[in-house]
Amino acid sequence: MSGTYAHAPGFIAGDRPKIVTSRFEYEDSYTLRRFLATDGYQGLRAALGRAANEVHDEVKSATVLGRGGAGFPAGTKWGLTPQGVYPRYLVVNGDESEPGTYKDRLLMERDPHQLIEGCLIACYAAGLSQCFLYIRGEMALAQERVAAALNDAYAAGYVGKNILGSNFSVDIVLHWGAGAYVVGEETALIESLEGNRGMPRLKPPYFPAAIGLYGQPTIVNNVETLANLPWLMLNGAEAYTAIGTKTSPGTRMVAVSGHVKRPGVYEIINGITTFRDLLYKEEFCGGIRNGNQLKAFVPGGGSAPWFTEDQLDIPFEGPQAGAAGSMLGSGAVMVMDETTDIPAAALTLTRFYAHESCGKCTPCREGGTWLERILSRVVDGKGTMADLDQLIEVGTSICPGDFPHASNAKLGISAVPFPYKMNTICFVGPSAYAPVNSALVLFREEFEAKIVKRNTIPVTAVGAAS
């Protein structure tokens, strides 16, 4: 298939503007040699040729949305640091572990220097005097590639003291994680980086930009967010905002997995590409496998409420996805075709969040486990109708009120918009309930069938063979 590279399994190029994946076509894209031959560190040079506050303004006017999940503009985030408080730190969130998501891993494995350059630009613009690059523990290759790139960049004078001979000096320290999903939450990430159990901090303060690492102002940015900065510095905010829409400019990386013909990671146009484009167009996934029908899809990582064909025409624009009852999250779409056992599929996600609960908040620690147990029972054909009510009751004790869900014409239900209210500090608890609620709202009859026919039908595997 054109545009696939054996050296970058999973990534599918295509004939679209590339901001962060432009070097993926080269087998040696991770080397300093290739990086320098393809405009590498030129964005840094451009940035250092301007005053720090001008660089910050450029990033602000480009509205670079955070690519980690919340979609908060990076330039605005940098501006939340209190005046006159130093030192300030940069913590790079490379603890990518949201179910369905992988783009940061590819960016670290395939183009580590681009990330390093992005870190340097951020440190320069926001006056951050040390950078900690936190990479998920299970990503051995990413750690090796980033370590090698840092070693080369230090030796060549791009990182460390007096970068490019200027008065800009910053260390980038590679830090390993050790396996804990919740550490992707930025305050948990900071706790982990301080050598503690990775549990989210009580809010307020809402942003570690005010009080973060060692109690100092700290910017936490996602890998993909930072990877955008070199291109932005070289080409300017105007060129950046010319791609995509005004509120969602640029591109973003999206991983599409599950029952599509061509699962892969694509760099798509923000705000414009729709889910229908992504799932059905030949340049993307080319439709559902085996000519099957689409049943449902998770639009933004395992935490996101589900969509069905009614939502296919929504573009990758945060507010639109939110109004429709879900979120774009971390850029991960998981597709379920007509053969999918919906309660069993929901269980694979709920089990994940129940397992990953850090245990700090009771509604999540207890509620997540309850949801998993009750749902397991139902999936195993041992449930009762009361179990379905119990699922909702437990979910409501994690997230009071109506939980966001999509509209559905066939069922005659309208959307409950994002976000939800929550009784927990972070999003792990609500995320355990999101798949349960979506599945119950959209496919209640499948749960009832498992209960009514209890034990009389074999429980099919989550993904039937065809």
Binding site: G160, G177, G195, Y214, G258, F352
Partner: protein, 204 residues
């Protein structure tokens, strides 16, 4: 020997020196301990506590939070089969059954020759290449029963030792900051001024 060897103690001090506060080196040092012994020993945790200024209970408190740290020996090869949604949709449950059969252990178990430990893993960030697994955190994509069997056979025969190091080795390349290039870490309280380059002028 489960305290750090001389070489590892030197490396541990180098790692600690990169952070404004020593305790931040806790997780990297736990990885180093696991690399040395294949799992994290009590003696190693005591040693780490001495190095970063924490009690051994605090070190264990942190270590026990994270999935990757093991406190008793595991197989030379830790086989983690992903079971989260994308992999489940593509048949990871069947793959797990097959793996249990091939290795002759239940999930969580270690083969009697100490070669393999089989684990259920959560999302490994390779969702388009489902079902996927990791052996000592090295990926295998779109795994079929046949490719699983040949992977196990190759590992057993020692044919993959160059690619897949023993359990505990996290990264084969480590960061080294040259003394003449590094800025160096200082405790946050010793910095009060804005960095030099925030002076309203271009740095270059």
């Amino acid at each position: 020997m489960s305290r750090f060897t001389e070489d590892n103690a030197r490396l541990a001090k180098e790692i600690i020196g990169r952070y404004p506060r020593p305790r931040s080196a806790m997780i990297p040092l736990l990885h180093l301990a696991q690399q040395q012994s294949g799992y994290v020993t009590n003696d190693a945790m005591v040693h780490i506590g001495e190095l970063v200024g924490a009690t051994s209970a605090e070190v264990y408190g942190t270590a026990s939070f994270y999935e990757m740290f093991k406190f008793e020996p595991v197989g030379k090869y830790l086989v983690n089969i992903c079971g989260t949604m994308s992999c489940a949709l593509m048949g990871s449950e069947e793959l797990m059954h097959h793996a249990e059969h091939k290795l002759g252990v239940k999930v969580g178990g270690t083969t009697s020759d100490g070669m393999f430990t089989l684990e259920h893993a959560e999302c490994q960030a390779a969702c388009t290449e489902a079902p996927c697994l990791q052996v000592n955190y090295r990926y295998r994509f779109r795994v079929t029963p046949e490719s699983f069997d040949s992977l196990i056979d190759d590992l057993s025969a020692g044919r993959l030792t160059a690619e897949i190091p023993d359990h505990g080795t996290v990264a084969k390349v480590l960061q080294h900051i040259p003394a003449d290039r590094g800025v160096g870490a200082v405790p946050p309280e010793s910095v009060t001024e804005a960095p030099e380059w925030l002076n309203g002028k271009a740095a270059l």
